[in-house]
Symmetry: C2
Subunit: 441 residues, 2 copies
């Protein structure tokens, strides 16, 4: 097991992952378009020595924003370039779809971000699964197998383009009047079934050579992509057992293609809500829930617990009879935790405020509670680190940085400072330039 | 004729448009990848109240960089976002190919830049004519007619996406718990022969509504694109007569589609080399020419003048016999000016240092010389302004801003300050949001 955990922080829309984050105290409701806000959050995360900022992305208006914040940023490249200008060490990672983008565009934009940030960029290489995003590009989603075939092609073309300048091609010898050694800048000339590019890409190596590749989702297909190309994987386990199973499978898949399993780091999604006490944290989350349809959520909670629940019971706990009859639904991995919370006697409103049906594990509580959860997962081998989805960025990032990070550091679980200027150094992943030679041998 | 001229400044590769700019005194040879340098140049241009920075672009390594700088930047969006963070007023415009990009990507990235910069973005909408760029996208260039058909489709889809949120759709009413009025955010559902997008684009209007559209090149096809969609046109006339002809044609084409011709501004490409005297300016350009194959240029100069010239004559002027025999080639619009310079008695090396075979008119001389040239062109109706390709950015931008701008201002030819915070205000072009209703009526 690695000595210390790694931290990624999601700063997508400018508000936070909770739908009601835009209405919270201290939040500028126009944060979505205000790059000063994004710069400030990146600086706060860097103060906490967090390894990287991660912007998930889908090129579409994915969710209903009549009451809720949009899921994603206005544009990942604009946001990450803004953050690059405001920080010195933190890594800058975003999703770009392999289904909807051509590899030359991805290669150029992420490599430009990488040299602009002096070696801090990363690319989360994922296919698109949202039909609305495909429709924005005038196409229907291809079948899954074809989409994943294209992922492999796109990543290989992108990495080949990244390596199309030899490391010492940029000569800059003023006396000999030589700007570059063009014998060392060569086309890649790759032609796949789905994509192709001649190259070269006219960008020299960055301080880390080229951007780090990440992967997310996709089951067995995704695992194969991660094993072959990724140094970081964003995963969504709901329990330690799920996290261990995913991480073990990932490491085995990496070994199967000849890699050292320690090269591939699994980041588990995690949503802390930090306050002075669990009660205060629940009140914070109840305020966030004001834009949410709780009646519908009560119904869903019932289905998770094998009960028929009505909105009228929102401010009551489960009865003894209900608790006796409850059976966690085998179809929802969050169900056992929901039942455990319900057994503690909270009202249904508070059970929901615990985030039991959120899309990552939630810890509402003190900084110690949050640190305890992270330590337990990490020491059980459920992850190499966490991808933090902090409820409200405006005060939540500071709370994490100022309260949780020092606890993790005191416990020896988190680094005291950045290891170096590049993302590769700070993740502890190996140098890479161009295609991985192990994959082309 | 408009009262005052407009200025765009090209800051493409970080060095300057001259191949040898990377070797000049005070130039950091690593400027190509150093965003601090780009930020500084944008700030200098803003000090001079220049209306906009323009980054031409082709997604390929277009030129031989063994001795010369690359033609373009590492990535226009990364560079312009960097500049947006470093400035408050100057406009930020770049080329994005309508041949190689999907409209959703262009719409999103330029609109994101537009809101991030508080209404200062512009998009130069041009098809790609370089086969190597198409090969980077795995395609062959389509026939010209088809490429221009696609330009129309892409611009219309992009502008429709830009307008897919009604101006007041972003409600942000915390009390009523309403983030956005989703009845006012609608798909665009456009389907052309070449491109399509469903939308909506999840970005609210910027302070100027949406980015300004620019156009460049393309002859009659390009003129039609400019007349229908553009507020600014980048042109390359070599003489006042050529500039007037282009501008008159552009204005007539705008009128023909029902627009006010003053909505479309023609920027003439112009390369000043500013020094204490013409001799000093020529020496500056001779140093720039050290990386250039002058033997080959002498031969080309001869073909422009209807003479057979040899490299041995490089440091001699034309003889009386040669001058008597010289006939400007009708195939090169730069030839009359080349002959005029040669008649002044300069050596061939100095004739070439005058930039007579450069791709824009060159004025090597004092700030007064440069201002005189600009005044003459502007007052003759050859342009609405200039797109400055200043020989070496490192000291040339400051020289232009500190020496030429005050002369133009004293002569009443250039504004004393920005008219407002948006690019539209500073260009004096009308508000636009979504598709131009005159085109869809």
């Amino acid at each position: 097991m690695p000595d210390q955990l790694l931290l990624a922080i999601q700063i997508a829309n400018g508000y936070g992952p909770q739908p009601g984050s835009w209405r919270m105290p201290g939040v500028d409701p126009r944060s979505y378009t205000d790059m000063d806000v994004f710069a400030r959050y990146a600086q706060a995360a860097e103060r906490g020595k967090i390894q990287l900022v991660f912007l998930a992305d889908t090129p579409a208006l994915e969710n209903d924003i009549s009451r809720a914040v949009p899921n994603h940023s206005i544009d990942p490249l604009v946001v990450l370039t803004t953050m690059a200008r405001a920080t010195q060490r933190i890594g800058l990672v975003a999703t770009a779809s392999t289904t909807l983008n051509e590899p030359y565009t991805i290669a150029r934009q992420f490599k430009a971000l990488d040299v602009a940030s002096h070696g801090r960029a990363g690319w989360n290489a994922v296919p698109t699964s949202l039909p609305a995003a495909a429709a924005n590009y005038g196409i229907a989603l291809p079948p899954r197998a074809q989409k994943y075939q294209r992922v492999h092609e796109v990543v290989q073309v992108v990495q080949a383009l990244w390596g199309s300048w030899e490391r010492d091609a940029w000569v800059l010898d003023a006396e000999r009047r030589q700007f570059a050694d063009t014998d060392k800048i060569r086309p890649v000339g790759l032609q796949g079934e789905h994509v192709a590019a001649r190259g070269p890409l006219p960008i020299p190596p960055s301080e880390q050579g080229q951007p780090v590749v990440f992967q997310a989702g996709g089951g067995g297909n995704g695992l194969e992509v991660a094993a072959r190309y990724a140094d970081g994987v964003y995963a969504n386990p709901f329990s330690i057992a799920e996290g261990r199973a995913h991480r073990d499978a990932l490491r085995a898949a990496a070994v199967a293609v000849g890699r050292d399993p320690d090269e591939v780091k699994l980041f588990a999604g995690f949503m802390p809500s930090i306050a002075g006490s669990r009660r205060e944290a629940l009140d914070r989350r109840r305020r966030l829930d004001e834009v949410v349809d709780l009646d519908q959520r009560v119904g869903y909670l019932g289905s998770m617990l094998g009960l028929r629940l009505e909105p009228a019971q929102l401010d009551e706990p489960l009865t003894a009879d209900q608790l006796a009859a409850a059976r966690p639904s085998p179809g929802d991995p969050r169900a056992p935790h929901a039942l455990q919370v319900a057994r503690e006697g909270w009202t249904l409103r508070d059970v929901l405020a615990h985030g039991v049906i959120d899309y990552h594990p939630v810890v509402p509580g003190t900084a110690e509670d949050v640190a305890d959860h992270m330590q337990a997962w990490f020491e059980a081998g459920a992850c190499d680190g966490f991808s933090l989805a902090i409820d409200v960025y405006a005060d939540g990032i500071d709370a994490f940085v100022d309260q949780v990070v020092p606890i993790l550091q005191r416990r020896g679980l988190f680094h005291l400072d950045y290891e170096g200027p590049t993302l590769r150094e700070n993740l502890g992943v190996p140098d890479q330039y161009g295609l991985d030679p192990r994959l082309t041998a």
